[in-house]
Symmetry: C2
Amino acid sequence: MSTRAQEAPDPQRELEARTARLRVADVVGNLMEFWGFKRGMGRVWALCYTSPKALSAADIGAELQMSAGAVSMTLAELTKWGVVRRSWVPGDRRDFYEAETSVWKLVSRVVRERELTLVREAKESFVAADRALQLAAQGGTPEEKKRRAFERDRIGQLRSIAETGESLLSALVAGEAISAAPLAVLGAATALYEDVTRRRRR
Amino acid sequence: MSTRAQEAPDPQRELEARTARLRVADVVGNLMEFWGFKRGMGRVWALCYTSPKALSAADIGAELQMSAGAVSMTLAELTKWGVVRRSWVPGDRRDFYEAETSVWKLVSRVVRERELTLVREAKESFVAADRALQLAAQGGTPEEKKRRAFERDRIGQLRSIAETGESLLSALVAGEAISAAPLAVLGAATALYEDVTRRRRR
DNA sequence: CTGATGTTTCAATTATCTCTGAAACATCAA
DNA sequence: TTGATGTTTCAGAGATAATTGAAACATCAG
């Protein structure tokens, strides 16, 4: 037995550790993909997040097997979302990147710019449809009027769902606390369900 | 001026009403797509939902410009998910379909389940990575140990987020905790955020 | 049974994303 | 200025996913 066994790096274990970190990057990539981002964004972010020192683009490409171009584009996107930031190392021409650790920052931006936009668009189209049907219902036979009334009612349901969703998401985004976007959004979905159920029962 | 102007269907307004309904189908399609379903599923469901009478596959195809094959597959999928159901019209060979009105319940459940799977996978890989890093950290220089410690800490952060998320999602999926839901979820999410923040600061 | 009508299936096409690789660009040192 | 180094851009390749169209299948009436 060597005198200081615990200081000899074990190649086998080194490899396992590296593999495990890459696996972490991958599952984070899967989650990010689930939320509508590119897989690569999650992978790169996770690699940065688990790295003690800021990484260069070349480091990232080497570790994650991505081309320079892909790394550049991914970092640009992550930076735009504010979840990764550049850091300069004096005397080094390369750019380095480190992960933003505040998950909420990411979440609130995501919610604001993605879900909220979608929901708003939806609401607007429901409102517009309601108006159009209202106008169309002014003419026609009684039967047609009845049909229009049904359509308006259903679209009104959708509209109220969208409005509830919109205010919930707004509230979420406005608040300074809360992490874990997915869960928060699920909360919103649940609320929507409640709302619809209640309205249907009345 | 005609004697009963309000009963004459206005072609212009008819067209606008139809366009508006199609637009509604489209935005619902977008939302569904965002939640991980196919776009067409949302469009077909929305068309059925806003229709006073059950629609035949041919109706749907004509309205949404989909091929018979696409309509058939989409309806099969919607039926499988239980958000659309067949209805028979006596003396008519065709199948008719109408929208299940409690879609949001189903959709949100499905989304939660999917996410739960992902989160579980993530958690497992975090745990595995933590173990691997722990083993690797047994050897190496003090500097390497420090690096491993950082990595473990960060992965521990991810792990705690995943664990909280997992239990929250489990509760939501399993329970009819749905009724208590929105605020409870927000509360839990907030607690989660607090927890992560506290851990980071120590 | 046969033909008419409607539905389902699936291989092939088409559309949509992502990534690559190379060129253009930028910056700095010598 | 020139060359070395690093970054960005983007047309095209490659991978995935959605859609079509036609054939197979199912059902019913005559």
